[in-house]
C-alpha cells in the first residue's frame, strides 16, 4: 500500500464514519498496518532503532480498525488498565494530544511501553479484531499506536503539576521503570524525592539492558529529564546498602518513606563445566558492556572492551536472549546461534523479537541445551557441547518439560557463549537490611499495596516479582507511590528532617 493509497482510504473511511455509515465489516477489511522497519541487512551493521514508527496516515488507519467494543476486552489485558478504546479513537480522529493525555492517566512511560511491552500476551491478546481473524498478529496494534502518540507529543511535553511542598523526604532506590514511576507520582504529591542509583547513569534496565536498537536511550533520557524538571533529585553512584543503609537513610538522613525497586540483580548460570572460561558472559555483562558502556564504540571513544566474537552461542529463549544475539550480530559476529531447550512455541520472547532475530540471520537451535563448554590451553572458549532434547509432560509453568535425549551429544564451534537464562535476587538488600522480610528465593515480601515488613518501606518490580517486565514494574511503582502518599498523609505527627 502506498502513502497515497493510505491517504485516500483514510479520507473515504473518515467520511463514512462521519455519516455514521462505517460498519464493523468494513473495519475488518482495513489492512493491518505493518510497522516500518530498517532493512534487515543494513541494520546488522548499526545500533539504530529497528522499528521506525508509524506515519500519521498509518496510525489513523490502524486506529480505524478498532471496533470500539463496549466491553473493552483489551483493557482487561493491560497491567495498568489504560483506557485503550478511548485513546485509539482519539488517534483515529487525529487528536493525538488527547490520545496521549488518556494514556498518561494510567501510564507514565508510553514511549517506552509502546516499544517494549509484550502486547501480544496483554491487550492485543484479547482484541476482538485479532480473535475474528484467529491471529493475534492481526489484532489492532495498540502498542504501535501508543508509541505513535507518545513520540509525536514528546517534543512539546510540559512538566506535570507538582503539589506544594510537604517537606517530607522520600527515597527511591533504583532508577528503573518502577523507580521512575514511583518517583514521579510521589513528587506530584509535593514530597521531596531523591532517587538513588548504583550506576553512573539513571534508567536501570532501560539503559543497561534493553539495547538502543529496541529502545533508544534518548527516550529514556527524556523521561529522566522530566523528573528532574519536576524537582526530583537523582543521586547516581550511590549503592544503598553499602554507601548508606536503608536504616541510615531513615533514622539519620530524614527519609520518611522508601521505595525499593532495585531489580533482580544476579545473573543465573547453568553450573556446567567451563562456565568460567574466557569468552563466557552473562547476558547482563554482555549487554551492559554493549549498551551502558557503549562497547560498540570501543576504540572510537569508548573505553570498555567487549569480545571480538566471530561465532557466538546464546543460551536462552527470552527477550534478553534475543537482545544478546542481535547485539552480537551488530558487534560483528559472523555466526550467532540461539540455543533453547524447548521448542519455539514455548519461547518466552516476544514474537516480534523472534521474527527480527531470524531476519537478522540468527540461527535457531531449538530443543538443544549445553552440557559443557570446551576451552583450549589458554582457557579460551573453542566449542560448546550440547544435548538434544524432546518435550515431555507439562511442568509447573504449564509448558512441556524438556527431557534430554541420551547420548545425543554434539559440538558447535564457538568463541563466545552468552548465558541468558534469567536472574536471581541480589542478596545485598537482605544482607544489609535486617528488618526486611524475604521469601525463600530472596525476593522481598509485600502486601497488595506493595508494603514490606518494615514501616514506611515499600517495594516492587523484579526484586518482588522475580522476573517481570517493564510494565509490571511500572504498575507496582504506581501502586507503591499511592501507598506512600497515603502513608505520609496519615503520618501527621512527623516533622520534616526526620528528627525524633
Amino acid at each position: 500500500m502506498t502513502d497515497k493509497e493510505r491517504e485516500e482510504l483514510l479520507k473515504e473511511l473518515l467520511g463514512k464514519q462521519e455519516r455514521g455509515e462505517l460498519k464493523a465489516a468494513e473495519r475488518y477489511e482495513i489492512p493491518p498496518q505493518e510497522m516500518p522497519e530498517q532493512d534487515a541487512v543494513e541494520r546488522r551493521g548499526n545500533v539504530k532503532e529497528v522499528a521506525t514508527g508509524y506515519t500519521e496516515a498509518q496510525a489513523r488507519l490502524e486506529a480505524m480498525r478498532c471496533l470500539q467494543c463496549k466491553t473493552a476486552p483489551c483493557v482487561k489485558g493491560c497491567p495498568v488498565q489504560i483506557r485503550i478504546g478511548d485513546f485509539v479513537a482519539a488517534i483515529a480522529e487525529g487528536d493525538h494530544k488527547k490520545a496521549l493525555e488518556i494514556i498518561k492517566e494510567n501510564s507514565l512511560l508510553p514511549a517506552v511501553c509502546g516499544r517494549v511491552c509484550p502486547q501480544e500476551v496483554q491487550c492485543q491478546e484479547y482484541c476482538t479484531v485479532g480473535k475474528k481473524f484467529k491471529d493475534v498478529q492481526k489484532a489492532v496494534s495498540i502498542g504501535r499506536l501508543e508509541r505513535f502518540a507518545a513520540d509525536l507529543a514528546q517534543k512539546q511535553e510540559g512538566v506535570p503539576y507538582v503539589a506544594p511542598s510537604t517537606g517530607k523526604k522520600v527515597a527511591i532506590i533504583g532508577s528503573g521503570p518502577g523507580g521512575i514511576v514511583a518517583a514521579g507520582d510521589v513528587r506530584r504529591a509535593g514530597h521531596d524525592v531523591t532517587i538513588f542509583e548504583a550506576f553512573h547513569k539513571p534508567g536501570g534496565v532501560m539503559v543497561y539492558g534493553i539495547p538502543e536498537f529496541r529502545l533508544p536511550k534518548s527516550i529514556v533520557q527524556q523521561e529522566i529529564d522530566i523528573l528532574v524538571k519536576m524537582g526530583v533529585k537523582i543521586e547516581c553512584n550511590f549503592l544503598v546498602g553499602k554507601t548508606r543503609t536503608i536504616e541510615q537513610l531513615m533514622s539519620e538522613d530524614g527519609f520518611e518513606a522508601v521505595y525499593i525497586g532495585v531489580g533482580a540483580g544476579l545473573p543465573r548460570f547453568m553450573n556446567i563445566e567451563g562456565e568460567s572460561l574466557v569468552g563466557v558472559y552473562s547476558a547482563n555483562e554482555y549487554l551492559t558492556r554493549a549498551n551502558l558502556m557503549k562497547a560498540y564504540d570501543f576504540g572510537k571513544g569508548a573505553d570498555t572492551p567487549i569480545a571480538l566474537s566471530k561465532k557466538v552461542a546464546v543460551i536462552g529463549g527470552g527477550n534478553v536472549a534475543m537482545d544478546s544475539a542481535r547485539m552480537a550480530v551488530r558487534l560483528g559476529a559472523e555466526k550467532v546461534y540461539l540455543i533453547y531447550r524447548r521448542s519455539e512455541k514455548e519461547m518466552p520472547a516476544r514474537i516480534e523479537e523472534v521474527h527480527h532475530a531470524k531476519e537478522e540471520g540468527i540461527e535457531f537451535h531449538i530443543l538443544q541445551s549445553p552440557k559443557r563448554i570446551i576451552g583450549d590451553k589458554d582457557f579460551k572458549v573453542t566449542a560448546i557441547e550440547c544435548l538434544k532434547y524432546e518435550l515431555g509432560e507439562p511442568d509447573d509453568s504449564g509448558r512441556r518439560r524438556p527431557i534430554a535425549i541420551e547420548s545425543s551429544e554434539f559440538e558447535i564451534e564457538v568463541d563466545t557463549v552468552i548465558m541468558a537464562i534469567g536472574n536471581v535476587a541480589n542478596p545485598l538488600m537482605k544482607q544489609t537490611t535486617p528488618g526486611l522480610e524475604f521469601n525463600k528465593w530472596g525476593n522481598i515480601v509485600v502486601d497488595e499495596s506493595c508494603k514490606t515488613s518494615m514501616e514506611g518501606v515499600y517495594a516492587g518490580g523484579d526484586i518482588v516479582l522475580g522476573a517481570a517486565t517493564v510494565i509490571l514494574a511500572m504498575g507496582q511503582g504506581r501502586i507503591a507511590a499511592a501507598s506512600i502518599n497515603e502513608y505520609l498523609r496519615q503520618k501527621k505527627s512527623s516533622k520534616s528532617g526526620g528528627q525524633k
Binding site: 548504583a198 547482563n284 576504540g299 582457557f379
Partner: protein, 261 residues
C-alpha cells in the same frame, strides 16, 4: 560518605567519564572520615589508570561508587604475616593497621619490581613488628621475590597463625603455594575485571573450591588455597590486546597534545 562507610578490604569503582569511560575497581588504601576523603593508589597499566594519573590536583573524576565488597575479617590471630606486592601494598595497609589495633603481632613483607615502584614503606614500618622489603632487581632491600622471605618466616620456630597476601595474581599464587606447604591459612584480595561491582554482571567470577564465586559480592577476599589462580589470570587477560591498543592510542594522543602546547 564512602570515607565514613568503608572498612578495610573494601573497594570502589571509578570512572573517568560518564559517557564513554570504563569502570575500574580500586581497593581503598585509607580514609579520613573528618575530611571525607579516601586514599586510592594505582599504577599506570592501561588507558584509564594513565588518565587518572594524568589528572591534576583539583580535577574531578566523573564517578566513584562504594564502598563495595565485604570487609576483611579481622580478629586476634596472634602472629600474622602480611605480604604485599607492588600496588598490592595499598589495600594491604588498612588491613595491617586493623590487625595491629586488634592486638596481633605483625610481620610485613613488601616487595616491588624496583625501588621506584615501592610504596608505603614508612607506613608499613610504623605498623609492623618486623618489616622485610624486597625488590626484584635488588635496587632496594633484599634482592628477589617476596616468596623467599615468606618461606623463611613460615619455617621459623614460631610460624604465623595467619597470612594476608595482596598483589599481582601470579605473586598471590606462588605465595599461596608456600603457605599451603606450611599449613598457614591465607587470605588473598582479588582484583578481577568488573563492570558494575554490585553482583549484576558476573564478569568478576572466579573458580573457588570448584564453584563459581563473584569477587564483587562474595569477595574481594578469599581463602587463597581454594582459588584457581591460573584461570583467574587468563580471565584478567581477556581484553589484553584491546587494552593495549587503547593505551597506545591514549599515549599517542597525549604526546600530540604536548606538541601543540
Amino acid at each position: 560518605m564512602i570515607a565514613r562507610a568503608r572498612k578495610p578490604g573494601q573497594f570502589v569503582i571509578v570512572s573517568i567519564s560518564n559517557e564513554y569511560g570504563e569502570r575500574i575497581p580500586l581497593t581503598i588504601a585509607g580514609a579520613d572520615t573528618e575530611a571525607g576523603t579516601i586514599r586510592l593508589i594505582w599504577q599506570r597499566v592501561g588507558k584509564t589508570t594513565a588518565e587518572l594519573a594524568d589528572l591534576k590536583e583539583g580535577d574531578k573524576i566523573a564517578s566513584i561508587v562504594g564502598p563495595l565488597g565485604r570487609p576483611t575479617h579481622i580478629e586476634k590471630f596472634g602472629l600474622v604475616v602480611c605480604v604485599g606486592g607492588g600496588i598490592g601494598n595499598a589495600p594491604l595497609l588498612p588491613i595491617v593497621r586493623a590487625l595491629k589495633d586488634t592486638g596481633n603481632k605483625i610481620i610485613s613483607i613488601i616487595g616491588a619490581r624496583n625501588k621506584e615502584l615501592l610504596v608505603l614503606e614508612e607506613e608499613f614500618k610504623a605498623t609492623s613488628d618486623e618489616l622485610i622489603v624486597t625488590t626484584d632487581d635488588g635496587s632496594y632491600g633484599r634482592k628477589g621475590l617476596v616468596t623467599e622471605p615468606l618461606k623463611e618466616v613460615c619455617g621459623r620456630q614460631r610460624p604465623p597463625e595467619q597470612a594476608f597476601v595482596i598483589g599481582p595474581a601470579i605473586m598471590m599464587k606462588f605465595c599461596c603455594e608456600v603457605t599451603k606447604e606450611f599449613g598457614v591459612p591465607t587470605q588473598v584480595s582479588l582484583n578481577t575485571i568488573m563492570v558494575d561491582g554490585t553482583g549484576m554482571c558476573g564478569g568478576c567470577r572466579i573458580e573457588y573450591d570448584g564453584q563459581a564465586k563473584f569477587v564483587c559480592v562474595d569477595g574481594p577476599e578469599f581463602d587463597g588455597h581454594k582459588v584457581n589462580f591460573d584461570l583467574m589470570m587468563k580471565r584478567l587477560e581477556a581484553y589484553k590486546d584491546q587494552e593495549r591498543k587503547a593505551h597506545e592510542q591514549y599515549q599517542e594522543h597525549r604526546c600530540k597534545i604536548g606538541l601543540d602546547e
